[in-house]
């Protein structure tokens, strides 16, 4: 049971490994406030355009348009995730805080949809509860847009950065 075996790695698994290294490297850097705000504006335009196209029924004309819309949506969602993680890194905080931003907003949206909070004025109190529930997320979002990044290396500059620093 203690014998070390040499395990073969298939070509497909090697390709997956290279792909994963490429993806991971994408997250390991920092962006400043202005760049973040500009990119978020771009994402907002993309999401807005998709929403408007869907509301006007343009995406139902042909199934290819629907598929294209889903691809654009997927890309925009991934790109947003990437920018938020990089911005948290600039603030000297872990990219995992993305979930602290995303989950409360997503859960609130689901609750609003499930219980029709928006359609019923007598459920106004629910909005106050939801805002309180999202307070931390709102605070983090404001920090992403407004707070200045840390000066110098902060532990989130990427593997390659620290490797080079050790050599020097």
């Amino acid at each position: 049971m203690t014998t070390d075996l040499v395990v073969a790695v298939s070509p497909l698994q090697q390709k997956l490994k290279r792909f994963c290294i490429w993806i991971e490297t994408k997250f390991e850097c920092r962006i400043a406030r202005a760049t973040f705000a500009a990119r978020m504006a771009l994402v907002a335009v993309a999401f807005g355009a998709l929403h408007a196209a869907r509301a006007r029924g343009y995406l139902d004309v042909h199934w290819l348009l629907g598929l294209a819309a889903w691809l654009v949506f997927g890309w925009a969602a991934f790109w947003t995730l990437l920018q938020i993680v990089r911005r948290f890194h600039d603030l000297g905080r872990t990219g995992g805080l993305f979930w602290a931003v995303a989950i409360p907003f997503w859960a609130s949206w689901r609750i609003v949809e499930l219980f029709h909070v928006g359609d019923k004025p007598e459920r106004g109190w629910a909005w106050i509860v939801l805002v309180l529930f999202c307070a931390w997320s709102i605070g983090l979002t404001l920090q992403l847009f407004l707070r200045r990044g840390t000066d110098g290396p902060n532990g989130y500059d990427g593997r390659e950065f620290y490797k080079n620093m050790e050599i020097r």
Binding site: T3, L5, V7, K17, C20, W22, R110, L114, N154, G155
Partner: protein, 518 residues
């Protein structure tokens, strides 16, 4: 650099994985979890088909509960056997075999005309249970190879998300199917519950193909040798001889403490999951056959979400504050669960839950609270603990043994609950009461383990003796109570039948059908 970022940087260096490892692990974890979640779609379809089957075949609540109970027995036994073989053939192969089997079984049920007899359906559903049991050991074994001990709690919790997403998917898909739909030239009418057994297997098949190409049984086979440290056996490879696995796991006392506790999780989790649609119909007055109310759909969709939150949080707490020890967190969760369900039983007995606005809200709220506590223990005890005990080589059988008890517990819980519901004429306070007992018992099992691990052997044995006393008392008091209720129930049924016969004799044209369940 100031001190804090420097410390952070050092921490990152200490925990660094090879480049691309975390993304590759995420991808692996995602495909394994997705396949397991699809397994759930071919299992939880039953609870939505239950009301339709009840209407078509005339089965009563006890028979529906019995079916779920038989499934649990087959599933539990499958866990034991499949877990053992999983350690020999690997987690990936086990999951694929199970996926192919469950696809075939669901399609047989969906298309076969001969499932109207209770025994035929029960037999098929039991075989499906056995095949479904290939999923959990395979999933746990694969993940044991990809995670260090102090990472497993959180990831077991996140795995809860994948599992629960299967439930959410079927909770959303089932109303869509049952309401009837049209796809190109294909038309399915409202209430066609057989479609619940023919559409989900297609999803399982598609995901199984992705799983076959992407997943890897260990980091070594994905190009990351020695990336993970295994406390049990850190040598390469993930498979082990059947006899070695059997001996190591069966002789480990930790396994048996967790197994008893997990039986209690199973009794609560399955009783609340499988009987919730009947509870909605019988207590809250919903129509669950063709046109489910939004609050029912919302509650069934909300339950998995809150369950995931609870699972992740409890896993994180056990990793962060208890150095990967699962029993202290599990103990607290079981006791909280028993308090929550006892409150629900009290509220139910006071007739505060029922088909009124407040009653419906309360009824749904308690289901959600039970789901949080039951599913938190589900992840911590059922996924993280077997990985810790068995490591990458024997996690399959460890998970099999522990998880099998979940289903034996579920079978016992469902058999008792089904009978009590039948003889009490739908008094769901018994449902809550039985779940309370199981939750409390699970807490005692974890308390006993906690004392044992602290070296307080006498106290640990004392708790075990108390648990035996609880069982004796439950049998001694419960069986006479059941017989008493059954006698009253039989008198009611006889009176109803006599009244119906008298009415039929007086007016022969208007034949009255008496539901034997009433």
């Amino acid at each position: 650099m100031t001190i804090a970022p420097q410390a952070k940087s050092e921490w990152k260096d200490a925990h660094v994985h090879p480049p691309g490892f975390r993304a590759r692990r995420g991808l692996n974890w995602f495909t394994v979890g997705l396949l397991y979640s699809m397994y759930y779609m071919c299992r939880y379809n039953f609870r939505f088909a239950g009301p339709g089957m009840r209407a078509e075949f005339g089965w009563d609540a006890q028979q529906i509960a019995d079916l779920a109970g038989w499934f649990s027995l087959a599933y539990g036994t499958g866990q034991l056997i499949n877990g053992l073989f999983c350690d020999r053939i690997g987690g990936r192969a086990t999951m694929l075999i199970g996926a192919i089997g469950t696809i075939i079984l669901n399609l047989i049920i969906g298309f076969s005309p001969s499932i109207s007899t209770f025994s035929a359906f029960a037999m098929l559903w039991m075989v499906n249970g056995y095949l479904q049991a290939a999923g959990a050991p395979g999933m746990v074994k694969t993940n044991a190879a990809w995670f260090n001990r102090d990472e497993r709690g959180v990831f077991a919790g996140i795995f809860g998300f994948m599992i629960q997403s299967g439930q959410t998917m079927i909770s959303l898909l089932a109303p869509f199917i049952l309401n009837g739909f049209t796809f190109l030239a294909f038309v399915a009418g409202p209430g066609e519950w057989r479609m619940l057994f023919t559409l989900p297997p297609i999803g399982v098949g598609l995901v199984a193909v992705c799983f076959y190409f992407i997943s890897s049984p260990s980091p070594d086979e994905a190009g990351y040798p020695k990336a993970i440290h295994d406390d049990v056996d850190n040598s390469a490879g993930t498979t082990v001889r059947v006899l070695d696995s059997f001996k190591f796991i069966f002789l480990n006392p930790l396994v048996w403490f967790y197994a008893v506790a997990y039986a209690c999780t199973g009794a609560v989790r399955h009783a609340s999951d499988q009987l919730a649609p009947l509870y909605f119909e019988d207590v809250l007055g919903f129509n669950m056959k063709t046109n489910m109310p939004e609050i029912a759909v919302g509650t069934l969709a909300l339950i998995p979400m809150v369950a995931v939150a609870g699972s992740v949080f409890s896993g994180w707490v056990s990793d962060r504050f208890f150095h990967g020890n699962r029993y202290p967190v599990a103990m607290v969760l079981y006791y909280v669960e028993s308090v929550v369900i006892a409150t629900a039983a009290t509220v139910m007995s006071l007739h505060l839950i029922g088909p009124t606005a407040g009653g419906i809200l309360l009824g749904c709220l308690f289901l959600v609270l039970i789901a949080i506590t039951a599913n938190s223990t589900h992840s911590v005890v059922g996924a993280a603990a077997p990985m810790d005990i068995g490591g990458k080589k024997m996690a399959g059988f460890a998970a099999g043994v522990i998880d099998s008890f979940q289903y034996y517990g579920a079978a016992i819980g469902l058999f008792i609950t089904g009978r009590m519901l039948s003889v009490s004429e739908g008094n769901y306070a018994y449902w809550f009461g039985i779940m309370t007992c199981f939750a409390f018992f699970g807490g005692c099992a974890m308390l006993s383990l906690l004392l044992r691990q602290k070296g307080r052997q006498a106290a640990s044995r004392g708790v075990l003796a108390f648990m035996v006393l609880l069982i004796v008392a439950a049998i001694g008091l419960g069986i006479p109570k059941y017989r008493q209720q059954k006698a009253i129930h039989e008198i009611h049924v006889a009176a109803e039948e006599a009244a119906a016969a008298a009415e039929e004799a007086a007016n022969p044209t208007a034949a009255t059908v008496v539901n034997p369940a009433k």
